[in-house]
């Protein structure tokens, strides 16, 4: 998809080696991040993130559902990613399906933790209304509007922003509904309970080009990647998900080194994101 001549390839690799990338950034600096929340009023929560030219929208919709029998005390969260053809002509029709599944699985792995629900960024037990009978099902839908590299980080940040913008309606359960048939429920549409997004992890992708690795790579830089590691780190510094892409093998010591660098970078990104989200929320209340 990216037609680069040999000269351009050497230019990019040489630039990274000397810590000056083609758009002037250092190896570990991000492109300008712009966050807008509440872009889709019909959804319970939505956000649009622009990282340089990469532009993604993510929305959260809550619907009432029944918890699975194995975990009656937990709600359900499912994440879907859709690559819109506006991002690239090849995503037309079923073209973008493979990338979408790959991104959805990577996001699910980083944000939803293990099968037993432990270590999930989203506190599933706060989604239960009546244990074993009714719970909230969160559908997180993301749309890639324009893709210029580093999609996974942008989507992770967009989901974090969307969740902080989400309002789950308060639910009153009609008392006296015994037995196992569904108790009737009325949903009030005034007060909403906010979501605590403090321990939702942030995804940092380190792309290895030549002997160095960079953050927030553009499509051209990604085409030069030998291998890439996406690590999602939460506020406590624990690693909630790790996913190695790209072909070339990596020495385990390099993997550990990359993990420590990612943890360091994720703190800066986490603070930057929180400030941007707070600004967007404030901005949204005025307008």
């Amino acid at each position: 998809m990216v037609g680069l001549s040999l000269g351009e390839k050497h230019f990019i690799q040489g630039g990274i080696a000397q810590d000056i990338r083609s758009d002037g950034r250092k190896r570990l600096t991000y492109r300008p991040i712009n966050v807008e929340t509440g872009v889709i009023p019909q959804a319970n929560g939505s956000a649009r993130i622009r990282m340089g030219a990469t532009d993604v929208i993510s929305t959260v919709k809550a619907e009432l559902g029944k918890p699975i029998s194995l975990q009656p005390d937990k709600g359900k969260v499912s994440i879907y990613v859709d690559c819109s053809p506006t991002a690239a002509p090849m995503f037309e029709g079923r073209g973008g399906e493979e990338l979408s599944t790959e991104l959805s699985v990577a996001l699910q792995r980083s944000l939803l933790g293990g099968k037993s629900g432990a270590g999930a960024g989203i506190d599933l037990s706060s989604l239960v209304v009546v244990e074993g009978k009714i719970c909230w099902d969160l559908y997180i839908d993301c749309l890639v509007v324009c893709s210029d590299g580093n999609l996974l980080d942008a989507l992770g940040a967009a989901i974090k922003a969307a969740l902080s913008n989400t309002g789950i309606p308060r639910v009153q359960v009609a008392a006296g509904a015994s037995g196992d048939e569904q108790p009737e429920v009325d949903i009030s549409d005034e007060e909403f309970l906010q979501f605590d997004t403090s321990d939702i992890p942030v995804i940092v992708t380190l792309t290895k080009v030549g002997r160095h690795y960079i953050v927030d790579a553009t499509t051209e830089e990604e085409s030069q990647m030998s291998s890439a590691i996406s690590i999602s780190v939460n506020r406590k510094g624990h690693i909630c998900g790790l996913n190695k892409r790209g072909g070339a093998g990596l020495d385990p010591s390099i993997v550990l080194d990359m993990i420590s660098v990612a943890k360091h970078v994720s703190e800066q990104l986490m603070n930057k994101l929180d400030s941007e989200i707070a600004a967007a929320e404030a901005g949204e209340d005025e307008s």
Partner: protein, 241 residues
């Protein structure tokens, strides 16, 4: 269900002749050759244009004019209830065809033979009148991509409920089962390129409703021309002329 209150106000407080609030923004997708976002009330659509570029499969190549292709798709979160419709369902194929034919009529395709122009339209939020919003967004995106066109194509829908013609129906009025007229209009040449209507309507009332829709299209055309003028000033300023 009473759509027009005795004082003449509609459900969302508009007058029968009043359009929803319009907002347009050019250049929303950086990587596309031309792109635009168009909002009519709650309906929000983003369009991107790639081209004129090399034709993907030789078999479709036309040697005396450009091949225009269009792809309409709705985001999962665009409608109220979360729908998981597969990509190629009938409704989106029909709308893709309508948009392609409308835009093909106004693009000067003979100037770009053996090339291909891709128009991709993505509905972010659907609240009635998606078809018209898509055509307006596509026009803006084509203009942003610098593709020669006979004239801008603007589109608007109008209906007839409680025996009063209503301009620019939203989702509730649209799904009320009344007639729904969608008009695609070339403002400078004063010609109608697209006319779609479903369910029954007597001829004279139809005349009034269509005329109302054409007025709507003219208003949109003025707004679009304003936006493009402002955008060109922006480009001029950036180029420092």
């Amino acid at each position: 269900m009473e759509f027009v209150s005795p004082e003449g106000l509609r459900l969302d407080g508009r007058r029968p002749m009043e359009m929803r609030q319009i907002r347009a923004e050019i250049g929303a997708v950086a990587k596309a050759d031309g792109s635009a976002v168009f909002e009519m009330g709650n309906t929000k659509v983003i369009a991107a244009v790639y081209g004129p570029r090399e034709v993907q499969n030789r078999s479709q190549q036309i040697n005396d004019q450009a091949l225009v292709r269009c792809d309409y798709s709705m985001a999962n979160f665009s409608t109220g209830d979360r729908m998981r419709k597969p990509k190629g369902d009938r409704r989106s194929t029909e709308i893709s065809l309508v948009i392609r034919q409308t835009m093909e009529a106004c693009i000067l395709t003979h100037l770009m033979p053996r090339s291909q122009i891709d128009i991709f339209v993505q509905v972010l939020q659907a609240d009635g009148g998606t078809r018209s919003a898509c055509i307006n967004a596509a026009t803006l995106a084509l203009a942003d991509a610098g593709i020669p066109m006979r004239d801008l194509v603007t589109s608007c829908s109008s209906g007839y409920l409680n025996s009063t013609p209503l301009l620019d129906l939203n989702y509730v009025e649209d799904s009320a089962g009344g007639p729904d007229v969608t008009v695609g209009f070339l403002p400078k040449l004063d010609k109608v390129t697209l006319l779609q209507m479903d369910s029954k309507l007597p001829i004279d009332i139809f005349e009034k409703v269509m005329q109302l829709a054409i007025e709507g299209c003219k208003a949109i055309a003025n707004y679009i021309r304003e936006i493009m003028l402002e955008n060109t000033k922006q480009l001029e300023y950036r180029r420092g002329i």
